[in-house]
């Protein structure tokens, strides 16, 4: 799970985060500006959200357009998160890492439209959805360029947020290893992997850095010894030891830190995003659905979900532009992404379930039947076709 550091960041600055994300769907360039969508705060008062294990109750089903504060109370036993989604799961606002039995606020600017509030116990999957209708002033129409610019801005925020989460969760993982706590280290491993897999194509754009963080035993050459997450995975899950881990944790911390610095230099474009989304799904097809990547821990479905999350974010961010240029693609992807995530959701596991792995929201790859693996592969192939068309659409004149 995420370290306290990021929790504090989120607690301290939900407005900033929210505003940055809202910018992705607004022509307003002043991303930190205050209420600008019509109604000011206090029109309807705070909206209570009860985020449970099996429910996601929202105090109101309709709202006037404007800025709203959602007061979230978690009643789950797990860490949860709450999103406000526009169609296509475009994120209007989110609060992650809500601990059990805690309260958090989410402030979001909502133009008129149909939305969903999603509670995600365990922070994965489609979550439990509650519909929300916002009436009144609609968001101003955007040009294609504005839509694309907003998408890029939104994705940059996502990548930076995920990179920060990667740094923090890697720190938690490394601290557990360095403290000699094997069980805690194992439990911390899946979450760090999730954040890495969400932004994997970005990491891959930095040449040597991706292998240093994510190489497999098969990638070892005389010049490149086995290092990174999977070298530690092998120690923890196959060799059942922390002996020899120290040089690996030191290097991992360094390399994840480098990644965090380099991410800020990436020049994001719609094409980079679209190619990244395709690359994420190609990764799923090649090394996740095959159970190749997490061969010692068997948390392949965590990586799978991470890759899908990353691709889905790209799609959601580009969706307004795609809607304008090729609506049939939006129709297809609006169907395919939930289908894939729903299928993944059928493999969620809790402590005590067969195939449960501590720290992982999904069952062990070994617990999947051949038919289940096949079904996952079929969905991945199905979504790859329309996803492969995104780049051509966003770059076409």
């Amino acid at each position: 799970m995420t370290s306290p550091a990021i929790r504090i960041v989120r607690l301290a600055s939900p407005v900033v985060l929210t505003a940055a994300l809202v910018a992705s769907c607004s022509s307003d360039k002043s991303t930190n500006s205050g209420a600008r969508s019509g109604a000011g705060p206090g029109t309807v008062g705070p909206i209570a959200v009860s985020a449970g294990d099996k429910n996601c109750q929202v105090g109101r089903s309709t709202l006037p357009a404007g800025r709203h504060t959602f007061e979230i109370t978690s009643s789950t036993s797990q860490v949860t998160e709450v999103y406000v989604y526009a169609p296509g799961d475009r994120i209007m606002g989110e609060v992650e890492n809500i601990g059990p039995s805690t309260k958090r606020n989410l402030i979001v600017d909502l133009p008129a439209g149909a939305y969903e509030v999603a509670c995600k116990p365990g922070m994965v999957g489609n979550g439990i959805r509650t519909a929300l209708t916002v009436t009144g002033q609609a968001a101003p129409a955007q040009t294609l360029d504005e839509n694309l610019t907003a998408a890029v801005t939104s994705y940059r925020t996502y990548v930076e947020t995920e990179t920060k989460a990667l740094v923090d969760t890697t720190a938690t993982f490394v601290a557990a290893i360095d403290s000699g706590d094997l069980a805690k280290a194992r439990e911390a491993y899946p979450t760090a992997r999730l954040h890495y897999e969400r932004i994997e194509p970005i990491a891959e754009s930095f040449g040597d850095l991706d292998p240093l963080i994510d190489m497999r035993a098969d990638d070892v050459t005389p010049e490149t010894p086995f290092v990174g997450f999977h070298a530690l995975e092998q120690l923890l899950f196959e060799k059942n030891t922390l002996d020899g881990a120290r040089p690996l944790t030191t290097a991992l911390t360094t390399n994840v830190g480098k990644l965090s610095t380099l991410v800020k230099t990436v020049e994001f474009t719609p094409l980079v995003m679209a190619n990244g989304a395709k690359s994420l799904l190609d990764e799923v097809a090649k090394s996740k659905v095959t159970g190749e990547e997490e061969r010692y821990s068997r948390i392949d479905l965590v990586d799978f979900a991470g890759n899908v999350d990353g691709a889905k974010y790209v799609y959601a961010a580009l969706r307004p532009a795609l809607q304008e240029k090729k609506p049939e693609l939006v129709t297809a992807l609006d169907k395919r992404f939930p289908a894939l995530v729903n299928l993944l959701d059928t493999h969620l596991a809790k402590p005590g379930d067969q195939g449960y792995i501590a720290g992982s929201p999904y069952v062990s790859y070994d617990a999947l039947t051949p038919e289940q693996i096949r079904a996952l592969a079929v969905e991945v192939d199905a979504i790859s076709e329309p996803t492969g068309q995104i780049s051509g659409v966003v770059t076409a004149g």
């Binding site: 076709e385 051509g392 076409a396």
Partner: protein, 439 residues
């Protein structure tokens, strides 16, 4: 495997090739059409009736896609096969099925004409994935035919559900095949909601076709299994030498000659009144993946192999005779008073005289899928037969053959996959496969 023979009459003027002397055929469990041929081989009065859309055997030429029947049934058997069975995704509805069949029909008609799918392999927008996968670029059409079939599960799924509202239109001929003694069917290599038989004289053309149809299907249907066949085991009209199957015996001797419209109407094409009208002009496809136990067969003495089949291995002639086309006399006895053709010989039990006259249009292919995990050749016959009523035809014949005490060949073969499909009639431009069922 089956057997029958006759001499082909001279082809009609429009027949492109000299008459091919048909050889008897191993057929892995069912009999050949025209089996009851005695001397002269006039199983069905096989005068060539010209049918231009199927007549061309010139390598590389296209076979007409549109017509009253689907191509790939009466079409002279091409050299290569890629057969694929598809399952529709659980969430798919009738509109999705229609959309798939519409897209498939459009793509199939293009590929059969030697054109790329959609905007082609290299002629579409460069920023998008090409519509066509490209490996058939520059290749001739290679007589590609694509034949679609509807499985029993399309009408009624294994849970008894009528997913597409067509259960009432299920033809009685499409009755689930019974279990036959000795079957060792792998469910993963059997059944399927849909099938596509791709045949071509170039394997790459056939594979390209299935690959592109599978790609178009993504999100709607996925491949349940597929089978490559490298050599035809049956011929309908060709000047080539009779092919031998993986047992080393000549195969495909006495198939129905598809130019014989009357015989095709009697034995292959669904006729008005047979069942639901949407199938009129269609045909029923039975597929069986028949694994040959190659190693035991190879170490069997020649006389035993010939006893099992009921023919000489070298010439293909009946026992005691010298020519492949000598008449097959099931009752002839040797000087010792024993039957010349063994009581359990494959040719005897598969013969139409043994099966109430039942015959089939065989269109099977030899396959070799490398070796199994015991190092044995994974080879055999991918049996495909078309017929008007499987209950009366395939099932009758297979009931004669199956079982330990029946066909002597059963010691050396095993049926490991099975499929039953209703292949609707052909389409005209603007129509889609199965439109009379789903439209």
């Amino acid at each position: 495997m089956t057997e029958t023979q006759h001499r082909e009459p001279a082809n009609g003027a429009d027949a492109p090739a000299p008459s091919r002397r048909r050889m008897f055929g191993l057929l892995g469990g069912a009999a050949a059409l025209g089996a009851a041929v005695g001397a002269g081989g006039t199983a069905a009065g096989l005068d060539a009736t010209s049918d231009d859309r199927h007549g061309s055997q010139t390598p590389g030429r296209p076979v007409e896609f549109f017509g009253p029947h689907q191509a790939g049934i009466a079409t002279p058997a091409q050299d290569r096969l890629h057969f694929a069975a598809f399952d529709l995704s659980p969430t798919v509805g009738r509109a999705d099925l229609v959309a798939l069949l519409t897209a498939w029909t459009a793509a199939a008609s293009r590929m059969a004409a030697g054109q790329g799918v959609g905007t082609g392999a290299v002629t579409g927008p460069p920023g998008a994935p090409p519509d066509d996968t490209g490996e058939a670029l520059g290749l001739p059409p290679a007589r590609l035919t694509l034949t679609v079939g509807f499985g029993t599960s399309l009408f009624t799924d294994p849970d008894g559900r009528d997913r597409f509202g067509i259960a009432a239109s299920r033809p009685p001929q499409l009755a689930d095949l019974p279990a036959f003694p000795g079957d060792a069917l792998d469910p993963a290599a059997s059944g399927g909601d849909l099938c596509v038989q791709a045949c071509a004289d170039d394997p790459q053309v056939a594979v390209h076709a299935i690959r592109n149809l599978a790609r178009i299907a993504r999100g709607t249907a996925s491949v349940r299994y597929s089978q490559l066949g490298f050599g035809r085991t049956s011929s309908t009209s060709t000047s080539q030498a009779t092919p031998r199957n993986m047992m080393g015996f000549k195969d495909g001797t006495a198939n129905l000659k598809t130019e014989d419209v009357a015989a095709m109407n009697t034995h292959v094409w669904a006729q008005p009144g047979d069942g639901p009208d949407w199938m009129t002009g269609g045909s029923y496809l039975v597929s069986r993946r028949i694994r040959m136990l190659i190693e035991p067969w190879d170490s069997t003495p020649l006389v035993e192999q010939e006893r099992v089949i009921g023919r000489h291995k070298g010439s293909g002639a009946p026992p005691g005779l010298g020519d492949e086309f000598d008449p097959l006399n099931l009752s002839s006895k040797g000087p010792d008073g024993e039957l010349l053709i063994d009581a359990n010989a494959h040719v005897r039990l598969a013969h139409s005289s043994h099966n109430s006259g039942a015959v089939l249009l065989r269109r099977g292919y030899s396959f070799t899928d490398g070796t199994d995990n015991l190092g044995r050749l994974d080879a055999g016959l991918f049996f495909i037969a078309y017929q008007r009523d499987p209950r009366r035809q395939f099932v009758t014949i297979q009931n004669s053959l199956a079982g330990k005490t029946a066909d002597a060949l059963n010691e050396y073969i095993q049926h490991v996959g099975s499929g039953l499909f209703a292949c609707p009639p052909g389409v005209q431009p603007g129509q889609y496969w199965g439109q009379r069922l789903l439209g």
